[in-house]
């Protein structure tokens, strides 16, 4: 009867009404209408018929009017599509339809209509509908049939979105419970989907590259959800992508690039062990197709993934692959210029690489040495801009290894390190690193190596450290390091201490000179059992610093008409007390008494402006002396002659 109404919109609404009223009167299993003549099959037949007719009417709508109202018609059609889709929804609700019936009867009939109608809008909408409305397990079992229809659709249908939706649904289905996973294997879901996608890409020659990659991203996500253990599948997907990308120039379409980044990021997110991703042979090949900017972005993603998961990259092979992947950060790739990069971004990149170096570790010293040599080889290609960031990390990683080996291979690592450090265009940093290496050599009992490191440090100080503030810091570092050296024989030690004290006295500002020189006094007194305890030279240093303090005093008198830094005298007094307590026979209580009186006089003098720093310092020093005097035993006796 409804067939009589052939007007599209009237027909649609009429049939829709028919669908609505008949809904609960369908002879479904368990319904009151099930009977002798009426079975589920009849219900199915009825709905399918209604569906078919409604689809035809719907499609016919577009031919209704003249061309100029085509747009309006399209809009109308869009709005009415739900009426058609409703039929499918009704079908899905019929309980009597089991998998068998769906597979043999329902789906083929629906698909027949979809293919035959040859209407782009209808086909796209209906495919979507089918996927959304029917259960996932049905889709899994009818995968071949469903996918088989895809190449038969109109070439303008956005089939990739349909496929993506299908894969997404199936991914979620897989994620919902582990029990369904065997089903996927049984129906060979991966290969079917993989083939279908291949066919679609082949058929739609004009598909833009972003579409292709999006499809592969969906397939990859599906694979990672359903077959997380099948690295070969993952690699296969990447390989298919590489094939599609090869022969073309580097990607310039930003949407496509984004999709490639998504493609490459997916395995990283899935596999907490980043090293798993490193074994995918096609991974670096995909990266090669990115433009240099995006390549670096991807490299940062990889590094961040390692940092976030606290992963340890532990074999030389893995390190090699890793550095190959991040090569965009390690050096200037062909065709790029280092100056183009923003300063902040560059720093962030290089600091990331520096941090990464500490994630490379192996228990076996042999393997670790290999890793270090490998890293060294790579970062040395970085050029002068990168070395100040990356070399320190490498050096400290090496020093940690040296400490583990403690003497066995120290020489080798030592020489190579000197070579590496000499290329760092940052003299202050290099100086510090040389001193670190000297201490390590000291611990390994390698006197010549330690001496060589000190030589390099001094050379840098002489030739490159020109800023006075930097000199002060540098000389204190040299003094501090030298003070701890116990590997040097008398001659070597004398040469180095002579240099240190010499440079201390030549600092620009008198107060700095004074402080550095009295720091040098510690070079002649080491508290260890076998440590040097040269009381005379200690006193010489202290006296020298006193002379410098005096000179500073006089200079201040002349230039400013007021007394200068009394505080220096208080500092020196404290040093006298230090060595006095250590038992340096050259430091007498009389000398200390004199110094105390000197300071008192200076402070009370008319020309002296009260110094907010000196007064409390002197006061607390006197308190300290008093405190020591009150101690029982040897200390109290020692301090007894001193009157405060």
């Amino acid at each position: 009867m409804c067939r009589g109404v052939q007007h599209p919109i009237h027909g649609l609404f009429l049939r829709s009404y028919l669908s609505q009223v008949s809904r609960d009167k369908l002879p479904d299993i368990g319904s009151e209408y099930e009977g002798d003549g009426d079975t589920v099959m009849d219900a199915v037949e009825f709905v399918l018929q209604n569906f078919t007719e409604m689809n035809k009417l719907w499609i016919r709508m577009q031919h209704q009017g003249p061309v100029r109202v085509e747009e309006k018609l399209e809009k109308e059609r869009s709005e009415l599509r739900d009426l058609v889709g409703k039929n499918l929804h009704v079908l899905s609700q019929i309980e009597g339809i089991d998998l068998e019936m769906y597979k043999d009867n329902v789906l083929p009939r629906i698909l027949e209509q979809v293919v035959d109608c040859k209407d782009e809008l209808a086909q796209y909408y209906l495919m979507e509908c089918i996927i959304q409305v029917f259960p996932d397990e049905y889709h899994l079992q009818t995968l071949e049939t469903l996918l088989g229809a895809c190449p038969l659709l109109q070439p303008t249908v956005d089939i990739k979105t349909v496929l993506s939706q299908l894969m997404e649904r199936l991914s979620n289905y897989a994620a919902s419970s582990a029990e369904v996973l065997p089903e996927f294997l049984q129906v060979e879901a991966f290969s079917k989907l993989s083939n279908a996608i291949g066919k679609v890409i082949e058929a739609q020659v004009d598909m833009p590259i972003v579409g292709v990659i999006t499809l592969y991203v969906s397939l990859l996500t599906f694979t990672l959800h359903v077959h997380p253990d099948r690295l070969d599948y993952v690699d296969q997907v990447l390989g298919a992508c590489v094939k599609k990308l090869s022969g073309k120039a580097k990607l310039e379409d930003s949407k496509a690039t984004k999709q490639v980044v998504a493609l490459l990021s997916a395995p990283l997110e899935k596999f907490n062990e980043i090293v798993t991703a490193l074994t995918l042979s096609n991974y670096p090949r995909v990266m090669d197709h990115l433009d240099s900017e995006t390549n670096k972005v991807m490299a940062m993603v990889i590094i961040q993934s390692i940092m976030k998961n606290n992963t340890c990259v532990s074999t030389a092979d893995q390190v090699e692959v890793l550095f190959e992947l991040i090569k965009g950060l390690i050096k200037d790739l062909d065709g790029t210029h280092g100056d183009e990069l923003d300063d902040e971004d560059f720093k962030e990149e290089q600091n990331s690489v520096a941090r990464l170096i500490h994630m490379l570790y192996h228990d076996e010293p042999e393997e670790m040495l290999q890793i270090i040599c490998l890293v060294r080889k790579h970062i040395m290609t970085g050029g002068p801009k990168r070395l100040p960031f990356t070399v320190p990390s490498l050096v400290f990683s090496s020093l940690k290894l040296v400490r583990r080996l403690q003497g066995q291979d120290g020489d080798v690592v030592g020489e190579e390190t000197i070579e590496t450090l000499s290329s760092v265009p940052s003299p202050e940093l290099a100086l510090r690193l040389y001193l670190q290496c000297a201490e390590a050599a000291n611990d390994c009992d390698l006197e010549p190596v330690a001496y060589e490191f000190f030589t390099q440090a001094f050379v840098l100080y002489e030739e490159e450290v020109t800023d006075s503030k930097a000199q002060v810091t540098a000389i204190h570092l040299i003094i501090g390091t030298l003070q701890r050296m116990n590997v040097f024989g008398v001659e070597n030690r004398d040469t180095l201490t002579h240099k240190a004290t010499g440079y201390s006295a030549k600092l620009l500002k008198k107060p700095d000179q004074c402080r550095a020189v009295y720091a040098c006094s510690h070079l002649f007194w080491v508290d260890d059992q076998d440590g040097i305890k040269d009381g005379e030279r200690v006193l010489l240093c202290l006296k020298r610093s006193l002379r410098i303090a005096n000179a500073a005093q006089q200079m201040a008198n002349v230039t400013r008409g007021s007394s200068g830094p009394v505080i220096l005298f208080v500092e020196i007094l404290n040093k006298y007390l230090y060595f006095f307590e250590k038992g340096n026979p050259q430091i007498t209580s009389a000398a200390i008494q004199d110094l105390v009186e000197l300071i008192r006089t200076e402070m009370q003098s008319d020309t002296t402006t009260p110094d907010p720093a000196s007064d409390p310092f002197f006061a607390s020093t006197l308190r300290y002396i008093q405190f020591q005097k009150q101690k029982s035993g040897a200390m109290g006796e020692k301090y007894d002659p001193i009157k405060v």
């Binding site: 600091n351 520096a354 320190p392 020093l399 501090g480 003070q483 500092e571 607390s620």
Partner: protein, 192 residues
């Protein structure tokens, strides 16, 4: 009750990639009133991170710090206590407690916080207390072998300060505490 975090010698990125995850999860913003940092962060990222934990951040310069503008020493008053801060590479011999005591007298402070040796220390002497929070990342040190990551939290309450030291030993966070009391003229201490 004022909570002060004493932390330093992280040496990121030269010697360590990051703070240990267990420390990171303990250090949350809003719980601490002041952070005093001995130095050697070394990069701006670390500074920003510490600043996000607490806006009252005080840093002294370590010899590897990227930012050369940090001061060599710093003093501040928190409650009844005067605190002094200095990285410690300037005080030779490194780690020598008598020499540090001298610096303490010079800065005229009750508590001196200094680092450089990467080894936790809390030492009481005639003029006050010297605290070394160690290295928060367990960074390599030429001075100390086998560095365990550590930091210090001070609870300043009136004339009393409780020093909590957090150390990461074999993957577990261990806490220890030491009490210090200040009298009008001097500081006494009782250990726990």
């Amino acid at each position: 009750m004022v909570l002060v975090l004493a932390i330093g010698d992280l040496h990121i990125p030269h010697r360590a990639p990051d703070l240990p995850p267990k420390f990171k999860s303990m250090l949350v913003p809003g719980k601490i009133q002041h952070i005093i940092c001995t130095g050697n962060l070394c990069i701006k990222e670390v500074h920003d991170y510490l600043k996000s934990l607490c806006p009252s951040l005080h840093v002294t310069r370590g010899e590897y710090d990227e930012d050369a503008r940090y001061p060599e020493t710093k003093t501040l008053t928190i409650g009844q206590f005067k605190l002094g801060l200095c990285h410690g590479h300037q005080v030779v011999p490194w780690g020598d407690l008598d020499s540090l005591a001298m610096l303490q007298r010079q800065l005229d402070v009750d508590i001196l916080v200094s680092g450089h040796t990467h080894q936790f220390k809390a030492y009481k002497h005639e003029a006050g207390v010297v605290i070394n929070p160690g290295s928060a990342t367990g960074a390599y040190s030429s001075i100390t072998y086998d560095v365990n990551p550590s930091f210090v939290l001070m609870d300043i309450d009136g004339l009393r300060v409780v020093v909590y030291v957090y150390e990461l030993i074999d993957g577990e966070v261990k806490v220890d505490k030491i009490d210090f009391k200040k009298t009008a003229t001097a500081t006494t201490h009782s250990a726990n």
